[in-house]
């Protein structure tokens, strides 16, 4: 019961944060709402007993990416960013896309998931670590290679010509 309440309130935080991101006029407020939404997703992970994902989500998305986005918005922001609307009049098309995506996700989740709050709480960090460096070592290393390439690319494109 308590788990269900926690799960749905966290899901509500995530959704409300996401809605605020697109509806607020002030880009700084939007960036902070994005952080709230990501924290809500972390809360959903916690309610589903995914400890490691919860901590990693907070550490990387809320503590890293959201802050970087806020940083960029503050550094590059113009005065018009503070009161311009960020949405146009195409509500119908947006609703259609959302409905189709939602229906697809619903089909997917109803195929895999049986419900919420029925995952027993157990320590899985060790198992995740063993899998990442054992069975899934190659994909893991490939992802790190992609990230390294992105990193080098960012340095390459942002450097000043000497």
């Amino acid at each position: 019961m308590l788990e269900t309440i926690a799960f749905y309130s966290m899901a509500a935080v995530a959704v409300a944060g996401a809605l605020l991101v697109v509806t607020l006029r002030n880009t700084v407020h939007s960036a902070l709402a994005l952080g709230l939404s990501l924290a809500g997703v972390a809360g959903v992970f916690a309610c589903l007993s995914a400890d490691f994902l919860f901590a990693a989500q907070l550490l990387i998305y809320v503590g890293g990416i959201a802050i970087l986005i806020v940083f960029v918005v503050m550094l590059l922001g113009r005065t018009t960013d503070l009161h311009n609307r960020q949405v146009n009049e195409l509500w119908g098309a947006a609703l259609l896309v959302c409905a189709i995506t939602g229906a697809g996700l619903w089909r997917l989740t109803s195929f895999f998931g049986a419900g919420t709050g029925d995952t027993p709480h157990a320590a899985q960090t060790r198992a995740i670590g063993l899998l990442m460096l054992g069975e899934y070592a190659v994909p893991f290393e490939l992802i790190s290679l992609v990230l390294l390439a992105a990193l080098l690319g960012a340095v390459f494109f942002s450097r000043k010509e000497i």
């Binding site: 308590l2 952080g35 901590a55 890293g64 802050i67 806020v70 940083f71």
Partner: protein, 425 residues
């Protein structure tokens, strides 16, 4: 001191009486006490005071430690009281939360006083002397009352809602990060399998509050302070996290209780198996973690976000009263958190430093080590000059981060050797 030695300068006028006499009649300006600090009577009195303070602190600590033992009984009592299990769970969480918040707030009072005393002694002053009687112990209590009574100013150019929300966003993750912190062996509010990651995750969120404060103040200095804070904290989080990886490799877990337990025992019967004593790797990791922690708490030599000679007071320039003090509560909360983490990760946590001291309870060792580390934090702040912004970033990205990566490799080599039986194990 006889009347003949009385100094020529005017005595301070204290608005207070003691036994019918004005205190100014019997007391000297406190710096007089330091005229000859090494005179034997003075020395004896100081030693006695010190012994008294230590015994008093131990007595208070013993009370707290014994109270902690009653926790299980309290939980059993709650379970037998006929309340629904959900209510018991909530009540239990609230009790533990109250204890942790109590620690953080009391630490704020204690650390500010201690910092003022340490800074004063480093600069050949005496610091707070009058409030409360003994060495100005009540100074921070009275300061808190003052802060509560102060006007809460919100600038006209500020974003009202975010200006109010910023201190809350800064302090809330600090409180939450204390959940898995060990105050002694097995003495923590929550036992988490991902404890270390959890602490780092929440400690990283506070900077959003700092950035919000900087932006919402509607002040260029504040904004610069907030931006600097964001850049600095996001950068120093990396070496801070990576410097702990060797510890995690040695202990084989992210759980603080397991890390604590992995350091029990002694080499050759006297050298404790603390991670700081692991050759080269331990000392490097300790140093990196200490430096990165000082940077994370925005303290000198890394106080770029609030550099008062450049930015007035950085991100909290436009804050006053209790909102302002919440930022300082956060800073001292993170100093305490880092001290406890240093104690758990590197200094053996609740383990005794010598085999014949095992009888002393673990929370005394834990708190003692944390306080020692806290002293190092305060000491750093008053002895080092501030780094420039570019020096700060260079130091992090070109020295700290590569060497903390290298340290992980060293830790791998050491683990390999130890498993082959070539090492100390």
């Amino acid at each position: 001191m006889s009347a003949a030695e009385k100094p020529a300068y005017p005595q301070p006028v204290l608005n207070r009486k003691a036994g019918g006499r004005l205190l100014t009649d019997t007391r000297y300006w406190p710096t007089e006490l330091w005229k000859s600090p090494w005179s034997l009577p003075r020395y004896r009195a100081g030693a006695l005071w010190l012994a008294g303070i230590i015994i008093g602190l131990l007595a208070i600590g013993a009370g707290v430690g014994e109270l902690a033992r009653w926790g299980e009984k309290l939980l059993a009592l709650l379970n037998r009281s006929g309340l629904p299990p959900a209510a018991v769970a909530w009540a239990w969480v609230l009790i533990k939360l109250g204890c942790v918040i109590g620690v953080i707030v009391a630490n704020g009072l204690w650390a500010v006083w201690w910092e003022r005393k340490i800074s004063a002694h480093i600069q050949s002053r005496v610091g707070p002397m009058y409030a409360g009687g003994f060495h100005g112990w009540a100074q921070t209590l009275l300061d808190t009352v003052k802060l509560l009574l102060k006007e809460d100013v919100t600038p006209a150019a500020a974003d009202q809602v975010m200006h109010t929300l910023a201190p809350v966003v800064a302090i809330a993750p600090c409180v939450m990060a204390f959940a898995p912190v060990l105050f002694g062996t097995e003495l923590a509010a929550a036992k988490l399998d991902v404890g270390v990651l959890y602490i780092f995750a929440f400690a990283g969120i506070s900077v959003i509050g700092v950035v919000m404060a900087g932006w919402a103040s509607g002040n260029k200095y504040s904004l610069l302070g907030g931006l600097r804070a964001a850049a600095q904290i996001v950068s120093y989080e990396l070496p801070r996290g990576f410097s702990v990886v060797p510890v995690l490799m040695f202990a084989g877990s992210l759980d603080l209780a397991v890390i604590d337990a992995a350091q029990a025992g002694y080499w050759f019967g006297f050298l404790p198996r603390w991670f700081v004593f692991y050759p080269v790797v331990g000392q490097l990791a300790f140093l990196f973690f200490l430096i990165a922690s000082v940077a994370e708490t925005n303290r000198t030599p890394f106080d770029i976000p609030e550099a008062e000679s450049e930015l007035v007071a950085g991100f909290h320039t436009e804050f006053s009263g209790m909102k302002w003090s919440l930022f300082f509560l956060m800073e001292y909360g993170y100093v305490l958190l880092s001290s406890f983490l240093l104690a758990v990760f590197f200094l053996g946590g609740g383990a005794a430093p010598l085999p014949w001291l095992v009888g002393i309870p673990s929370w005394i060792w834990m708190t003692g080590k944390a306080m020692l580390m806290m002293f190092v934090f305060l000491w750093f702040r008053w002895t080092f000059p501030r780094l420039r912004v570019d020096q700060l970033m260079d130091f992090n990205w070109k020295f700290l981060l590569p060497w903390s990566f290298a340290n992980i490799a060293f830790a791998g080599i050491l683990l390999f050797l130890m498993q082959r039986g070539w090492g100390l194990r």
